[in-house]
C-alpha cells in the first residue's frame, strides 16, 4: 500500500536505469544516509561510535571489496587480510614520508598500492579456479603478513614493530591519531563508505560488473561472447584489493590507532569472507548487512544477559555467545542460503503486494 511504484512513470532512460527506480526506495536510502550522518555523532555515546559503529563501517567497506571479487567476479579469495595489511602499511609509510599530504589522499593512494599488489596476486586466477584459487590467495595472506613482520623498513625501524596513526587533519579538523574525537572519525569513515559504496554499486551495474558476472557464471561462455578473462579477472582483483586496502588503512587510522601484523592475520580474511557469505554474495547491500551481523550480534549477545539482570561469569557468557552466534549463522544459512540481502529483497517484494497478495 505504502510501498508501490504505481503511478511512477519512467519517461527517460536515465530514470529507468536509476539505482533506485522506486521513489520510496530513493527516499528511504536518502533519509537513512542523512540520518547516519547526523544522528549517531549527536546521539551515540563514545562507546557506540568507537567500538561498534566505526568498525562496522570499516568492515562494510572491506566486505564490499571482497564481494566485488568473490560475489560478482566469482573468484574465491582468502587474501583479504593481506590486502588490508598492504593498505594499512602503505598508508603509514605515505603519511610518515609526506606528513602534509591530506589523509584522505593517503587512504586513496594506499588503496592504489593495495590494488597493485592485488593485481600481482590475481595472476594465478587465470589458471586456477574455485577452491584451488582460494589456496593460492592464502599464499598472499601469509606472504604479505610475513613480509611486514620481517622487514623493519615497513614500520620505519620502530623498536616496537608496530605502526601508529599520527595526528592528521582534514580542513583543520583532527581526523586520525589519539586526539581525533570519535564523531569525527565516524563521519570520516561513513563518508568514505558512502562514496565507495556508490562507486561500487555503479560499477557492478555497468559494463565492468556485467563482464564480472559473465565470468562468474560461466567463464568459457563469457570468453566466447567477447569478455577477456585476463583483463576482467585482474580488474576484479585490482578493484577489490583497492577497497580492501582503503579499509585496512582505515582500520588502523580510524579504529585501532596502532597495530601490529597480528591484526591482519588469517582470521580477518575469514571474518570478511563470512560477512560476504552471510550478507549475500553479489550484493552491495549484503556487504553492509553481513558486516552488521558479524559486528553487532556478538556485542548484543555479550550485553544481553547483563541488561536482563543476569550476572553470568564472563567465560560462560563468552561461550554462550559463541554458541548462539554459531547457531544463528547456521540458522540464517539454512533459511536463506543466498544471504541476508535476499531476505531483505523478499521482504520488499512482499511489502509491494501488501495488504492484497495474490
Amino acid at each position: 500500500m505504502i510501498y508501490r511504484e504505481a503511478g511512477q512513470f519512467k519517461t527517460s532512460y536515465a530514470s529507468d536505469q536509476a539505482i533506485f527506480p522506486i521513489a520510496q526506495d530513493r527516499w528511504f536510502v536518502g533519509l537513512a544516509t542523512l540520518a547516519a550522518f547526523v544522528v549517531p555523532p549527536l546521539a551515540a555515546s563514545e562507546y557506540w561510535l568507537q567500538a561498534v559503529l566505526i568498525p562496522l563501517l570499516i568492515y562494510s567497506l572491506a566486505a564490499i571489496g571482497l564481494n566485488l571479487l568473490t560475489g560478482y567476479a566469482g573468484q574465491l579469495s582468502l587474501g583479504t587480510g593481506g590486502f588490508m595489511a598492504v593498505g594499512a602499511y602503505a598508508a603509514f609509510k605515505l603519511t610518515t614520508a609526506f606528513p602534509s599530504l591530506n589523509i584522505i589522499a593517503v587512504f586513496v593512494l594506499s588503496g592504489l598500492v593495495a590494488a597493485g599488489v592485488g593485481l600481482v596476486f590475481g595472476i594465478p586466477s587465470l589458471r586456477i579456479k574455485g577452491f584451488y584459487l582460494a589456496v593460492a590467495t592464502l599464499a598472499a595472506q601469509f606472504f604479505l603478513v610475513w613480509l611486514f613482520n620481517k622487514v623493519p623498513w615497513f614500520v620505519n625501524y620502530a623498536s616496537s614493530g608496530t605502526i601508529t596513526a599520527p595526528n592528521r587533519t582534514v580542513f583543520g579538523v583532527i581526523v586520525t591519531g589519539p586526539n581525533a574525537t570519535a564523531p569525527v572519525r565516524y563521519v570520516t569513515a561513513l563518508a568514505l563508505v558512502v562514496v565507495f559504496a556508490l562507486l561500487a554499486k555503479n560499477l557492478v551495474r555497468g559494463r565492468v560488473g556485467r563482464s564480472w558476472m559473465a565470468i562468474r557464471d560461466r567463464d568459457i561462455a563469457a570468453e566466447i561472447i567477447g569478455v577477456r578473462p585476463l583483463r576482467t579477472k585482474l580488474l576484479a582483483f585490482g578493484i577489490s584489493s583497492f577497497y580492501c586496502g582503503v579499509a585496512g588503512a582505515e582500520l588502523v587510522f580510524l579504529y585501532f590507532g596502532s597495530a601490529e601484523t597480528f591484526a591482519f592475520d588469517i582470521t580477518l580474511s575469514f571474518l570478511v569472507l563470512f560477512m560476504v557469505i552471510i550478507g549475500g554474495l553479489g550484493s552491495i547491500l549484503g556487504s553492509f548487512l553481513g558486516a552488521a551481523f558479524i559486528v553487532l550480534v556478538p556485542i548484543l549477545l555479550t550485553n544481553a544477559p547483563q541488561s536482563l539482570g543476569l550476572h553470568l561469569p564472563v567465560a560462560l557468557q563468552k561461550q554462550l555467545e559463541l554458541m548462539v552466534f554459531g547457531g544463528l549463522i547456521i540458522f540464517f544459512l539454512i533459511v536463506e542460503p543466498r544471504g541476508l540481502a535476499r531476505l531483505w529483497q523478499i521482504a520488499k517484494e512482499k511489502l509491494r503486494l501488501w495488504p492484497f497478495p495474490h
Binding site: A51, P166, G177, N179, S258, E260, A263, Q317
Partner: protein, 442 residues
Amino acid sequence: MSLKTLWIGALAAALIAGPMAAAVHAQPKEMFVPLLVYRTGPFAPSGIPIANGFVDYFTLVNERDGGVNGVKLTWEECETQYKTDLGVECYEKLKGKGPTGAALVNPYSTGITYQLIPKAAVDKVPVFSMGYGMTASADGRWFPWVFNFPTTYWSQASAVIRYMAQQEGGTEKLRGKKIVHIFHNSPYGKEANPTLEELSRRLGFELTLLAVDSPGQEQKATWLQVRRINPNWIFLSGWGVMNQVAVKEAAGIGFPMDHFIGNWWSASDADVIPAGEGAKGYKGATFHAPGTGFKVHADLFKFVYDKGKGAGKKEGVGEVLYNRGVVNAMLSVEAIRTAMTKHGNKPLTGAEVRWGFENLNLTEPRLEQLGMKGFTHPVKVTCEDHEGAGPVMFEQWDGKKWNIVSDWIPVMRDVVRPKLEAAAVEEGKKLSYTERDCAKEK
C-alpha cells in the same frame, strides 16, 4: 493513638526515610577497576590464573581491610580472548563505569597495550602493563600515563645474560659461547632482540635469533637448526601453545633443560606440564616467587577461599601466573593507596591514581606488612623512570612444581636505559608527544 498505630507509623516513617537517607550520600565509597581478561580462546590456560589471582587479591582487600583505606574496590570483567579489537571494545565499554570512572587499566596483552597507550592520555586513565607492553614507555618523561614496572623485556634479557654468565663462572667465560634466542615472531617476541644483540657485541657470545611464527605449534625447522648450532644456552620468548611445544621439542632432542631459560611469559605451570618428565630442569625468569608459602596466601585462603568467594579452584592458588595476578593487583592497590596520601581517602579518578603510580615506593617493610616478604622485590617509581628496573629471579621446574634457584639478579641498567630513552623519543614523537620536565612535577 494506640501503641500499634504508633509502631506502624514509625515503621512507615523508617521505610520512607531509609531510602531518602541513603540517597543523601548517594556516591558510594567505591572505586572501579576494569578487568580485561581472557578466560576463553587459545590463550585461556594463561589468562585464567592471572585473572583469578587478580580478582582474589581485590576480594581479599575488600574482605580483610574493608577496601583501600575504607574505599571498596569494584570491578567488572570483560572477555577479550587476547584479541585487540575485543580489548578496545571492552575498554571503551568499561572506562566510564563506577562513580569516578576507571581508576586504571591492566590490558594483559602487549597488543591491547599498544591500542590503549594513545587513549590513556586522552581519557586520563593510567595504563599499567606490568612487565609487558611497550618497553619505551618506561621513560615517564615521554609516557606519563603508562607504567610497566617492576621491569621490562629489555631489562629481563640483560638479567638472563647475567645469569648465564654467573652459571658459566663469570662474564669472561661467556665469550665464544653460543646462545640461541627462540622468539614468537611478533613485536612482543622481538622485544629482547636489540638488547641481546648489543650484549653479544659487548660480551662476545655468538647469538642466533630464531623466529617462530604465531601460534607456534610448528617448530620442527627451528629445532633442526638448534641441533645444527648446538648452543650452550637457549632463551625462549614464547607465548601460549608455543611454549609447551618448545619445551617438548627441547626434551625431544635431549637438550640439557637447565640450560634452557624461558622469559616470564614462557615459564608457567601450563607450559611444562604437557612435556611431562622431559620438562624437568627447565628454567624461567620471574619477578615474584611461585608457590603458596607466603602470608598473603594464608590470607587468601582464610578470607577468600574459606568464605567461598574464590574466583577459581583452591588448587590453582600459587601457580606462577596466579601469583603474577596477585602481584599485579597488589601493585595496583598500592598505587591507589599512594595516591590517597595526596588526594585523601576517597574514591579517586584515573588522573589522581596516575600520581600514585608515579610516586609509588614499595619498600621491604611495606612488603612484609602485606605478607609478601620475599615474594616480590621492592619497587620505586619516579617521574623519569616508570620501570623501576627491578631485578629478576630464576625458577626451575622439578617435575612437580617451580622452585626458585637463584638470588635476585640485577639488570644491566647501563646497557638498557640509554637505548630505552632513545626508543622513547622515537615512540613519543610518533604520537606527537612532547617531553615532560620532571623537575616541575611534584
